[in-house]
Each structure stands twice: as structure tokens, then as C-alpha cells.
């Protein structure tokens, strides 16, 4: 009998290898967006310098049998026993609501406030650009302050964050100044707070990082109404049919839930998906370009943009990528002739979430002068190429400095471990941060 127990223990140790190579049990993949390391190729050189071992460690850790089950079990134990979420950057609030930890600690608290002077300066420039675009090109520039869960439904934020506000937030001051300067702007935080009082569906789901699908549609409709008002046009009408109630989420409605990877998937949340109908008779579809982050991407890929904007509109995601209607077909922004594209537009939307306000514009408003004039645009493009090459060399030099400094390298390793990213990634981030702060 003891020998049988010994054999059982050894089988237990072997079982993950057996699963890895036979897949005798059908495992469900883990949720969230991640990449799995590939099996490295062996050669003596790679082995002697330790690269093969490091890569194989990562490959095996990412691909051993029953990995997803074991991770989900661990996450479930932490969630059920300790009220803790293992996913980096998320925190569990009251009544099962999940929030972005960084967003609460930095954005809601005002810790990342960039200063009144900076915001005044940014918005003064935006005002000039708004005026210039309208006067010279009949293009309406609209700033849209995207909502976030932490601002719209703060009532479920964990108790320990109450009273940690240190001052005014970027959102509050940007909106205040936008009003004062009479910019074209929409405050979706406020819009959703109003909707919260009247709409029957959740504005944000418990385990959704982003707004709910119906909130997104309503916000898109609000933007359309605003465009109609400032341009004096009549865009396609939106009407609502049945609202499908579902136990399973679609799109981004459970993105946090997917990423937290629990063993038991709770089904207490109901999801709502309204049917939409559009009336195009004698309606105008303007050319709309957005320079925006993730929230606008939802609108861009929804019927709102597809049916109400000419050719579905365009999106320059973070001003670094030309977004596509379906994921996976994005193009680098360098493939776009920005000068030509801008002049085609009727409306330019800059939609930005609260936590990105410190990077307001994503560089767009700094380069707009060069974008509107062809010769300036060409000069800018050739200088940019040279600058990119220099930046790459600078980053490498800083990384070399960090690795040569024992104490600094140790700190980087600790931070990498904390953020659960590779040391190489952390070195890159540290180098970029240092260069940025130096400049």
C-alpha cells in the first residue's frame, strides 16, 4: 500500500506533463489579453549564456498542463478567502465591483494632477486650434472627456480609499477650464451620472472596466446630437428596439471579469443589448476623425460610427495607430498621410479618458500646425525619422547604465516582480521614464 501511495505521488507530479503532450482533458483558456512564450530553439551557445534556460523556463511556465485550472483555483481562493484579486492593477470594491487600482490612487485622488498652469496652456492652444480649423477648413474640433467607472460610480470604491483625495483632479480642472474658454466639449462623466438616475440598465457592470454597451450607445448618441447642434446638420436618427437581456456578456462588458480568471464564474449579473435602428432618409453623414483612446474605440466599432459617420469614420488610436473596424488589422500611424486625412474631415474628435489626461492630445495638438501645411508636414516627417533612431540609441545606452549599476538593477528587478512583467520590459520602461523625466 505504501508503494502505491509513492506511485500516486509520482503520477501526480507527472500528470501535468502528460496533459501537456496529450491534452487528455479539455482545458478552457485563461481570459484577458496576454501572450504565451514559445518554445525556444536549443543551441550550445544559447545554453552556455543562459538564454535557452531563461526562455525555456518562461515557455514551460506558460504552457504546462492544467495551468489554467491551477491559476483559476488560486485566484478563486484569493477572491473567496481574502477578497483579493490577483490581476495586477485591479482592486475589489464593495458589492463585487472591480476598479482600477491605479485610477483610484492616482486619478481620483488627484495625485496625477498636472497643474493648473499646464492645463491652462494646453486648453488655450486647443482653443486657438479649434478656431483655426473652423475658420480655415470648416472643421469642428470637439473634445470629449470620456467617463470612467471610478468617477461615475464611486460609491462602491473600497472604504480604504475614502478620504485619500489630495486635491483637484485633472478631470475637474480640464472641464472647468473648457467651460471657461468656451471650447466645444462634452463631459461624458456627467452625462453618465445623469443616465445613472434614469436608465434601467447598469451604466458600468460590476466586472467591466469600461462602460456598459447601452451606456456606450447612449454616449455615442449624445455625441451625434452635439455634432448636429454645432454643425447645424441632421444626422441619421437612432431608434431602439427590443433590449435583449443576457446572462453572458458580449464585447467588453466583462473584460475585468475575464481577466481575473476565477474558478467559479458568477452569473448574478444581467447584461443588456438594445437593438438599434437607423433612419438615413435625407440625413447627412459627416466625415469624422477621432484621435482617442480605448473608450472611443468601442464607439468606432459599434453601429453608431458605422451608420452615422461617413464610411464609418476614422480613429487614430493614441495617435500612434490607425484603428480598424475589426481587431487585428490595425496599421501604424506612419502609414497614414495625416495632412491629407485631416483636410478631408468635417469633425475631429479628441476623446480622452480621465487617467490619460496627463497626455492630453497624445501629441496631436503639438503637431497640428505642421499637419495642416504640406511642406511643413514633409519636413516634420523626415525629422521624426531621425529622432526615432536617436531615441532608440539613447534607450539602449540608459539600459546599459542600469544593468551595470548593481543597486539600480536590483530595484528594477524588484519593480518587475511587483508588476509581474519581465526584467527586460521593466528595463525598457525605466529607461524611457528616465529619458522622459530628463527632458
Amino acid at each position: 500500500m505504501k508503494k502505491i501511495l509513492f506511485i500516486i505521488i509520482n503520477i501526480l507530479l507527472f500528470i501535468t506533463i502528460i496533459q501537456k503532450y496529450t491534452h487528455f482533458y479539455s482545458e478552457k483558456q485563461l481570459g484577458g489579453k496576454y501572450s504565451l512564450s514559445q518554445e525556444p530553439n536549443f543551441n550550445l551557445n544559447n545554453f552556455l549564456n543562459g538564454d535557452f534556460q531563461k526562455q525555456y523556463d518562461e515557455y514551460f511556465s506558460d504552457n504546462f498542463g492544467f495551468r489554467s485550472i491551477l491559476i483559476k483555483l488560486n485566484n478563486q481562493i484569493n477572491f473567496s478567502l481574502f477578497n483579493k484579486i490577483n490581476t495586477f492593477g485591479l482592486t475589489l470594491g464593495k458589492e463585487g465591483y472591480i476598479y482600477g487600482k491605479g485610477y483610484i490612487e492616482n486619478t481620483v485622488s488627484g495625485k496625477d494632477f498636472i497643474g493648473k498652469k499646464a492645463i491652462d496652456s494646453i486648453l488655450s492652444k486647443v482653443k486657438e486650434i479649434q478656431f483655426q480649423l473652423k475658420r480655415d477648413h470648416n472643421i469642428d474640433l470637439i473634445i470629449v472627456y470620456a467617463p470612467s467607472k471610478e468617477f461615475v460610480i464611486p460609491e462602491f470604491i473600497p472604504e480604504r480609499y475614502i478620504g485619500t483625495e489630495i486635491g483637484i483632479t485633472n478631470t475637474e480642472y480640464f472641464i472647468q477650464k473648457s467651460k471657461e474658454k468656451k471650447l466645444n466639449f462634452i463631459d461624458l462623466n456627467n452625462h453618465l451620472r445623469q443616465l445613472k438616475k434614469t436608465e434601467p440598465y447598469p451604466i458600468f457592470y460590476r466586472k467591466g472596466e469600461h462602460w456598459s454597451y447601452p451606456s456606450m450607445i447612449k454616449s455615442g448618441e449624445h455625441i451625434i446630437n452635439y455634432i448636429e447642434k454645432i454643425r447645424g446638420i441632421d444626422m441619421p436618427d437612432i431608434s431602439y428596439g427590443n433590449i435583449q437581456e443576457s446572462d453572458t456578456s458580449r464585447y467588453f462588458d466583462n473584460d475585468q471579469g475575464d481577466a481575473i480568471n476565477l474558478f467559479f464564474e458568477s452569473s448574478d449579473e444581467k447584461y443588456y443589448y438594445p437593438e438599434l435602428y437607423f433612419n438615413y432618409n435625407d440625413k447627412i453623414k459627416p466625415n469624422v476623425l477621432a484621435i482617442a483612446d480605448c473608450y472611443y474605440q468601442h464607439i468606432f466599432r459599434s453601429p453608431i460610427a458605422n451608420e452615422c459617420f461617413k464610411n464609418g469614420g476614422s480613429l487614430w488610436f493614441y495617435n500612434r495607430e490607425k484603428s480598424s473596424k475589426t481587431p487585428g488589422n490595425e496599421q501604424d500611424i506612419s502609414t497614414v498621410n495625416k495632412h491629407i486625412e485631416i483636410l478631408k474631415q468635417d469633425v475631429i474628435i479628441h476623446m480622452i479618458t480621465n487617467q490619460n489626461l496627463e497626455n492630453f492630445g497624445f501629441g496631436f495638438f503639438n503637431e497640428i500646425d505642421n499637419l495642416l501645411d504640406e511642406s511643413k508636414y514633409q519636413n516634420m516627417m523626415s525629422s521624426k525619422k531621425q529622432l526615432d533612431e536617436l531615441k532608440e540609441q539613447e534607450i539602449k545606452a540608459v539600459i546599459d547604465r542600469i544593468t551595470a549599476n548593481k543597486k539600480w538593477y536590483k530595484k528594477v528587478k524588484v519593480e518587475a516582480k511587483k508588476r509581474k512583467i519581465s526584467i527586460d520590459e521593466m528595463l525598457f520602461k525605466s529607461a524611457k521614464h528616465l529619458i522622459k523625466s530628463r527632458n
Binding site: 505504501k2 501511495l5 505521488i9 485563461l30 534556460q53 491559476i71 478567502l81 472596466e209 524588484v414 512583467i421
Partner: protein, 476 residues
Amino acid sequence: MVFSSVIFLLLFLPVFLLVYHLSTTKYKNWVILFGSLFFYAWGAPKFIFVVVGSVIIDYYLINSMYKSKIKRTRLLLLTTSISINLGLLLYFKYANFFIDNVNVILSSFGYENVSWSNIVLPIGISFYTFQTLTYSIDVYRNTHKPLETPLQYLVYIMLFPQMIAGPIVRFNEIADQIENREALETIDNKLIGFFRFGIGLAKKVLIANVMGVEADRVFSMQENELTTPIVWMGSLAYTFQIYYDFSGYSDMAIGLGKILGFKFPENFNNPYISRNITEFWRRWHITLGSFMKDYLYIPLGGNRVKTKSRLYANLWLVFILSGLWHGAAWNFVLWGFFHGLFLILDRLFLIEILNRIGRYPSIFVTFIITIVGWVLFRVDSISQAKLYIKKMFSFDFGTQNHYIDNQFWIVFSIALFFAFFTTIKLGLNIERKIFFTAKYTLTEYIIGTFLLAICLILCVGAIASSSFNPFIYFRF
């Protein structure tokens, strides 16, 4: 490769054990050797040649020494062996430290620094160097004859369960087992070995790693974020982290050794229930303390020196060197100095005072002293040590909002409980039953196997989760 990694637990270990148990007795040492070479080469592929080369040279040196009848030759060969082994340790571990300090002195006098490429430290060098020393010295002292073949010596040094992080297994403790351990390769030992391994793994993954998160957080905070409670919390977290990490690793080594038929010495004996620092060093890293006593302190004269001042100086020296052995940095030297100081104070008057105040108060006082010592051990610099220790006793209760989650508190409570459990008789009895029973009943083996399975599942889940960090869809 570390024991608490997925690749060790789920690939190396099962494959190694399968090959080992399918091998006949004649080939088992070869299997251990190749397994150990692979294990070491996985973490330090280039150094394997240095280690194997020095071990083989050492084997023949000591063999020649043993065969020689001339005292002078024997001493010369012993000195050569010790010099090679210590020389390698000094070079790889302390050269960088030496050059850094020389450069500090040169800079202070306005001279140009010595340029030097940092040397990489081979893993486990501190441990296996001491083992080579015990081999040379034990053979020299005729405590045990040398091993018959270089294979056996390589097995002794490279034996992967204890090569990287101990326990420091003395040659005379294990020599016979290398040659023949059939009597110890019983099914009971194998099962008990697995259970011990599981306990060690749980200590490391489920307790030490959780404590480590908080310790790392506090010890990387800026000065203006620190308050007295925060520093104490971080120090306590580190106190438990280092204990459960190191003792857990020793448990895993002892357990693995048992599975292979080796009996390794115990390395920890509930050190935090010590009533004074002298007792602490009989309970903490026992094999190191024992090595230092037999191979350094006693040769320096031990307790038989002529004067008290000489005795205290020797004690202090031994502990400063122990500190330095732990790491090539001044804070480790300071830690050794700190413990040496308390050992002297114990002999002067402190033990007497601690005995008078009663058992539990003396345990408490000793625990506080130990925690302060761990702060010295953990910090990156002397200036950081000053800052943290000052904060510990400054009664600065500040207004920092320092949130610690439920998981930490629950695991901390468990850590605290088990660290002091054996202060009561029930705890001692349970410990004896779990750790020091030669044989269990069948029911106990079945329960143990079940618990081991649970432990493996929980630990592998925790290890796998620690490296899994998905983005939220669209959140980038």
C-alpha cells in the same frame, strides 16, 4: 532552477525520480551526478566547468594528502586545497566588494578609480565551498577516510538537494551514505521525504512569498512614507519571510535527500522561541553555526583561550565572518557584528537578566533583538539601516495610509502561530510527531499523501499565478 519553480516541480523532479528509481544501486550515484550537473548547469552553465574542475583537483589533492605519511606534506596539501576552495570563494564573491571599497578610498583621496568588470557570483558557491572544506579537514583529521572515487566526491559536493542553499552537510555525516545507503532507501523514508518536501514548499510559497511582498514594499518606500508602525510591520514581515523561506528550503532539501536515501542534518529548530541570542544560534541555521564552531571558533581556541577578551574577540570575529559569508556588503558585516555583540553581552550579563525576567518575556526581548538584526540584514546600505532603525524607535505614528490586505494578515497570523507554537508542550509533541517520526501508520500515510496533493496543487497554482499577468481587453 529553484525548488519552488514550475520547471523543477513538474519537469525536472518527476523525470529525475523516475530515472533514479528505475536505476539499479550500481548506477544511482551516476544518476544523481548527472541530475545534479544538469540542475546546476541550468542556472549557471559556464560555472559548471569551474566547479567540476575544482572538485576533481581537490579530490586528488586530498587523496594524496591522505596517502602521505609526512606531516609537512599533508599540511601543505591541505593548505593548497583550502586555498583553492577559499580562493575561488574570495574571488567570485568578494572581489567586486573589495574593488568597490578600494575605489571609495581612492576617490576620497582624489585618485582615479580602478576599472573592473563586475564578476558574476556562481550560485551555491558559499555552501559548497564549506562542504569542500569539511571534506579536506575531516580527512586531514582522520575523522573519516576519503571517498573511494571522484564520482563519490562529485556526488557529495554537487548533490542538488543541498548544493545551492544547504544545509551544510559535513563530510563525515554523509560519507557512508554516499557509498551505501540501501538501508535508508526505505519506502517509509521516501514517503516521509515527500511529506517533508511538501511542508517546505508550503512554507516557502504560501507563507514566505506572501510576507515577502509586504517586506519588499516597505523596504522600497521613500523616507517620507515611513512611520514607526510601517517599519515594524515591514520588519516583522521580513522576519517571517526569511525564516519560512530559508527553513522551507531546508525542509525541501532534507525531504529530497530522504527520498534519495540520504539523511541530512536539521538546520532549524524554532529559532524565534529562543530566550537569548546564544540560544538563537543553536536553533538558526544550525549547520552553519556548527561549521563555524568546529572549523573556525575551536581552531582559534574556542572557550579555552587564556583571557576573556581573547574569547570575546574570537566570538566577534567568527560572527563578523559569518555576516560576510552571507553577503559581500557592509550591512551583512554589521549584522554579524550586531549578533557577535549580543553573544558577548549574553556571556557578560544578558543571559542572567533574561533568565530572571521569565520565559515569555525573554523570548519577546530576544525576538525584538532578532528583528532589529534582520533589518540590518535586509537593507541595501548602512544609511538605509540607520534610517529604518531610527524610525523603529522614534514613535512616529504619522498619518500615512498604509493598507495591508486580508491575505497578509491571515498568513501573518499563521506564520506567527507556527513560529511560536512549540513554546507549549502540545506544539512540541505535534512537531515531534510530524517531523521526527521514523514511521507513520498506514492511515497517517494516506492522510499525508492527500495533504501533500492539496499542498502541491495550492503551491503550483500560486507559483503559476505569480507569473501570469493578463491585460484587460482593450485596456492598453
